[in-house]
Symmetry: C2
Subunit: 364 residues, 2 copies
């Protein structure tokens, strides 16, 4: 493994994390929680990169309201933190990270990674990242493409150009298109074709490549962010960032840049036991190793009778008793309790919205 | 309504109440809780009788460990309380009540009633009780028979003799037999026949009738209890009762007396919107008036999305969120949480047993 090929890592930790309510809250989204056990997802993400680069070459970009949580997670590690005054999706975040890296003199490959994903096979992940980094040095923006093992409808897909046309070198393909979350029928065809990968939201590129494409496809964003030139590390950086963020629009890097015609995009296929940990259901799937014989995942002082495929989590000294449940999610916290069908866990946002509209923000 | 026909009421409040765990606990069974809303079931039972007789003519028999709960419920009401040192089922309780009443000079009708049932139509119930009381004065033991409106398999049934043979006078039938809880097929036939009633566990008889039948069919019980003659109200009553209860066996009045050959049993049919409130499912059925349009009963600060036929109860300031549930019971208390299929609520005893066998008696 080449531990010099990536010069800087931008860890994107701006998620608001309503999908793990009531475990995650507005003030503590999932990246700051040990959702998968052990360390928080943010810490896991940074640790995962350490074989390739040290903490002093990482920057985490997150909501400024979450700076205390991030500091608590990362303790005294010399990871630079940049607080966004408001979330504007990934395009501003990636462009900001590129600008920051350039201001620090970074000319080589930068990896941009979400802070809240799970990776089971670290070596496979880092190998793919190195391949992407090498490729990025000759131009273009390289993504990781997770080789799908099932027709998941919860992920976006990346289609590569077919090998004949693409002439892949060392496991790198040209991107043909980015595809939004498909229905099951399309997902099945994607997986069967062998030409589609899950979009993990990981990008590797030089600052120059990123900023050139942003300038081309999101000129207003580029213009606004350029006002920060020379401001990084300055005393009034936060104020100036706030002014900039007030004027820019939220847009994803996929939609705003990668899907535009003429963008030189590449994909490096990767089998690394990856999950975006996007819902209670995906966390349940991740925890399959710790399920009981009836497929129940229990993280509580609990008594289960005649239950199957259920997920029970409770904090503290409480006892949880379950009887006759199938595929039910139970999450108990001191001030909020969630009981849901596990296969409806992608709709937990509706719960959060309903609580908000009742004016009960204290529970969010 | 004849408000002199019943001379004494014996309210049987000895239930241990595991069926409403975790709302009810060993130290606070359901009769001491406002299970149906408003007052506790014990207080409702006493209040229901007040049009016929005053508090000073009532005695409540209960586990001596529950005397503080009963006193708290009944405040300063002059209802006599007798604490049983240990539960021995209904035959000893009824015989003890009859002995007590006789010691107080009661020669007329005594009503024996469970403390933990619900009655929607008080007038119909009291009318039936008066009819039973009148009948009891000419001998025999008279039960109330609840006219069934569905083939419930959770209740025991009473079959009356067919009218031709029975020659009913004023709505009183001779009892042909007591039947244990049937399967659905039998229950359907019982209801269709018009000759079966639900056994509500209510008996009306003179002390003499009760004690004569107990002497005949449960002579050991009669002999032991007779040692209490003259002890009621005495200083060493509790000690003497404890000695007696150590020597007697637990047996129900139905099984030990009413089902024996030669017992002169009568039944008064009654339509009074009755329930034994025997499980969360029966409580859910009782609360049909307060259900939302999707048949959910909500007694909590709750947000329900796409839920049907569910029962949600929570104490305190907690928020409960439910998503996609059907026929699910959620009961949250500060130290214990139950999530169960509502139609499995008769099996909650298994939960309680499992908690006990884990040695976690503090939660019982």
């Amino acid at each position: 493994m080449d531990n010099n090929v990536i010069e800087c890592a931008v860890v994107m930790a701006g998620g608001s994390g309503t999908r793990f309510w009531p475990m995650s809250r507005v003030c503590k989204p999932k990246q700051f929680l040990p959702v998968t056990g052990g360390e928080s997802l943010l810490v896991q993400t940074c640790n995962r990169l350490n074989p390739l680069l040290g903490d002093d070459r990482m920057v985490a970009i997150l909501g400024e309201g979450h700076l205390p949580e991030a500091k608590a997670c990362l303790a005294d590690r010399p990871i630079r933190l940049i607080g966004e005054p408001v979330g504007r999706n990934t395009a501003p975040c990636i462009a900001l990270g590129a600008l920051y890296a350039r201001s620090r003199g970074v000319q080589g490959a930068i990896a941009f990674l979400p802070a809240d994903h799970h990776t089971g096979d670290q070596k496979a992940f880092l190998d793919a990242l190195c391949t992407a980094a090498h490729k990025s040095l000759s131009g273009g923006i390289v993504t990781l493409g997770i080789v799908p093992d099932r027709p998941d409808t919860g992920y976006g897909y990346i289609r590569r150009e077919s090998s004949a046309a693409s002439d892949p070198v060392d496991g790198v393909f040209r991107v043909a298109e980015f595809v939004e979350k498909p229905d099951l029928d399309h997902a099945r065809r994607y997986v069967a074709s062998g030409e589609y990968y899950w979009n993990a939201g990981v990008f590797v590129a030089t600052a120059e490549s990123i900023l050139r494409e942003v300038e081309r496809h999101l000129p207003a964003l580029h213009r606004n962010l350029s006002r920060l030139e020379g401001a990084f590390g300055g005393e009034d950086f936060a104020r100036r960032l706030e002014e900039v963020y007030e004027s820019i629009e939220g847009i994803s890097f996929d939609y705003g840049v990668m899907e535009k015609p003429g963008v030189e995009g590449y994909v490096v296929p990767c089998r690394c036991d990856w999950s975006d940990v996007g819902s209670w259901a995906s966390l349940y799937a991740l925890r399959s190793a710790s399920q009981d014989a009836d497929g129940n995942h229990i993280d509580a002082d609990a008594v289960l009778i005649d239950c199957r495929g259920s997920f029970v989590q409770a904090a503290g000294k409480k006892i949880v008793a379950c009887l006759g449940l199938e595929d039910i999610l139970v999450v108990d916290t001191p001030d909020a309790l969630l009981v849901a069908r596990l296969d409806r866990s992608q709709d937990i946002r509706r719960i959060v919205d309903a609580i908000k509209s009742k004016g009960k923000d204290a529970f969010l």
